[in-house]
Symmetry: C2
Subunit: 267 residues, 2 copies
C-alpha cells in the first residue's frame, strides 16, 4: 500500500465509487476504518437456497449479513443505498465447476438475471475491535495477510455445499487471548469468539509456519496460536460443490459497506 494513500481518507461510498470506476485496485485492508467489510459470494438462483442453508448451519465461518433482494438485483440496500455488487469490489474471482478461472475487476459482462449475491462478515471488523482494546494483531504489525489453515473439522453440509472449516490464526499471550475471546463474543456477525487455541494438531493443522492461505507470522515463546472460523470456508465449500458458475471477491479485496462495525456488537 502506497504512502500518502488517497483511499485512506475515503468514506465507504467513495471507495465503492473508486472501485466502480476502476481507480481502486488494491486490497481494502485498513481502508474505511470503522465500517464493515464483507466477503462476497455470487451464485445462480438454483443454488441459492442450499447456500443460504449452508450459511445458517455454519454461522461462525459464514455469518450472513445481506442477500440480494431478488435474483438478478445487483443492489444490497441493507449494506449501502448505492451498492452495485457487479462493480463495487476491486477484484473478483470467477469459478467454474469449482475451479478458479480468473480474477476480473468487474462483473458487468458476467451478471445474469438469476444471480444472487451473499455478503458475509469478515475478520477486519473484529480485528479493529481488538486493536481498539490495545491488543496486538500480529498479521497487522508484520504487514502481511493473516495465516489461514484447512482443519479437519467438518462443516454441516447443505445440498452440494460441504467441506472442512478453514480458520485464521493470530498468536497471542494467554491473557490477551482471554480478552480477545471476550471482545469477539460481542461480534457473532464477524465470526464471533475463537473456536480453538493451543495445540494445532487437535484441529488437524500440522505446521503453523505453512498456512494453506495467507502468510505465516511470528509466534513468540510466550504466545499460543488462537484460531477463528474464517470466511475462506465458504470458498472451499464452493470449490467442493463444483457448481457450474460462481463469483467471489478476491481475498483481501472486500465489499466496503456503510454499516458501522460497532453496530454489529450484540452487547
Amino acid at each position: 500500500m502506497s504512502v500518502g494513500n488517497p483511499f485512506k481518507s475515503m468514506a465507504p461510498n467513495q471507495l465503492r465509487r473508486a472501485a466502480r470506476q476502476g481507480r481502486l485496485s488494491e486490497t481494502t485492508s485498513g481502508l474505511a476504518p470503522g465500517f464493515v467489510q464483507c466477503n462476497l459470494v455470487i451464485i445462480p438462483q438454483d443454488y441459492a437456497g442450499d447456500f443460504a442453508d449452508f450459511c445458517r448451519r455454519n454461522p461462525r465461518p459464514c455469518p450472513l449479513l445481506a442477500v440480494s433482494p431478488t435474483p438478478g438485483d445487483f443492489s444490497l440496500p441493507e449494506l449501502g443505498s448505492d451498492i452495485d455488487v457487479r462493480t463495487d469490489v476491486p477484484r473478483y474471482r470467477r469459478w467454474e465447476n469449482g475451479a478458479l478461472m480468473n480474477e476480473p475487476t468487474d462483473l458487468l459482462d458476467h451478471w445474469r438475471s438469476d444471480h444472487v449475491a451473499f455478503a458475509l462478515g469478515c475478520s477486519f471488523s473484529f480485528e479493529e475491535a481488538l486493536l481498539a482494546d490495545g491488543l496486538e494483531i500480529r498479521n497487522i504489525s508484520e504487514g502481511v495477510n493473516v495465516p489461514m489453515f484447512r482443519t479437519n473439522q467438518p462443516c454441516t453440509s447443505a445440498g452440494p455445499f460441504a467441506g472442512n472449516l478453514v480458520v485464521s490464526m493470530r498468536p497471542m499471550k494467554p491473557k490477551d487471548a482471554i480478552r480477545a475471546i471476550q471482545i469477539c463474543t460481542r461480534f457473532p456477525a464477524v465470526h464471533g469468539a475463537p473456536i480453538h487455541f493451543g495445540d494445532p494438531s487437535q484441529i488437524g493443522i500440522t505446521n503453523l509456519q505453512q498456512p494453506d492461505f495467507g502468510d505465516s507470522v511470528t509466534i513468540k515463546d510466550d504466545e499460543v496460536p488462537v484460531f477463528w472460523a474464517c470466511g475462506v470456508t465458504p470458498q472451499v465449500a464452493l470449490e467442493n460443490a463444483e457448481i457450474p458458475l460462481a463469483f467471489t471477491h478476491a481475498p483481501g479485496y472486500m465489499l466496503v459497506s456503510d454499516k458501522p462495525n460497532t453496530g454489529l456488537a450484540i452487547l
Copy 2:
C-alpha cells in the same frame, strides 16, 4: 458428605439456622444450589478501610458482595434478612498476627463491637453456571477440592494488605475453555473470566500436581489448565498483613446467602 444428606434439600435460611444451631458441620459445597455462597473475612474497624481498598483494587480475587452495615453489627442484610455472621458459617478460622490459631464453629465469644465483616464472591457460583452449560468441572467430577496455587502475580496492595494472587485451576479442552471464558465473563462478582490458561510457569506455578491449597486433579492430554483468580488470595493478604486479630470462614465452609446466582450475571 453422607448419602441421603438432609442438608441437600434445605433452603439457604434453613442451612444458616442449622449452622447456627451446630447441626451443620460439613462443607457447604453442593448445598443450596442456585444460591450465592460467600467467602467471609472479619477484621477490626481499624483495618477495614484498607481491606476495602484491597478488595476494590483487586476485584478479580476479592469481589466484594457485602459489608457490615456498621462496625459491630453482625447482620448482612444485603445477603439475607436473618444472617448472623458470628454463627451462620459452619466452621471459621481465627488468625492472630497472620498465623492460623484454630477453627471455631462460632464466633459468639470472639465478636467485638469494632468488628467488620466482608462477604466476597466464591467460585461455587460460576462452577454452577459452567455445569449448567454442560461443561465438566474436574474437581467436582473427581469429588475433591479444587486445586489452588500461589502465583508470582502481585496484587495491588492497600495498607498492610499485600501479596501474590492465588488461583484455582480447572483443566478443560480448549473449546470448553473458550465457552467457560464467555460464561464467566458474565459473572465478575464471582471472580469473572479466567486470568490465564496453558503454561503454568508463565504465572510462577512449577508443578500442577502439587497445589498449594486443595487437591490435585487429573489433566488429560487434550486439556489445558485454566486459571481463575481465587478467594484464598485475601487470606494470603491477611497472613501477610499480620494484623493482631482476624477471622475467616474455613475453606469450603461458606456463608450461604439468599441471593440467587443468576442475579450476579451482568448480562
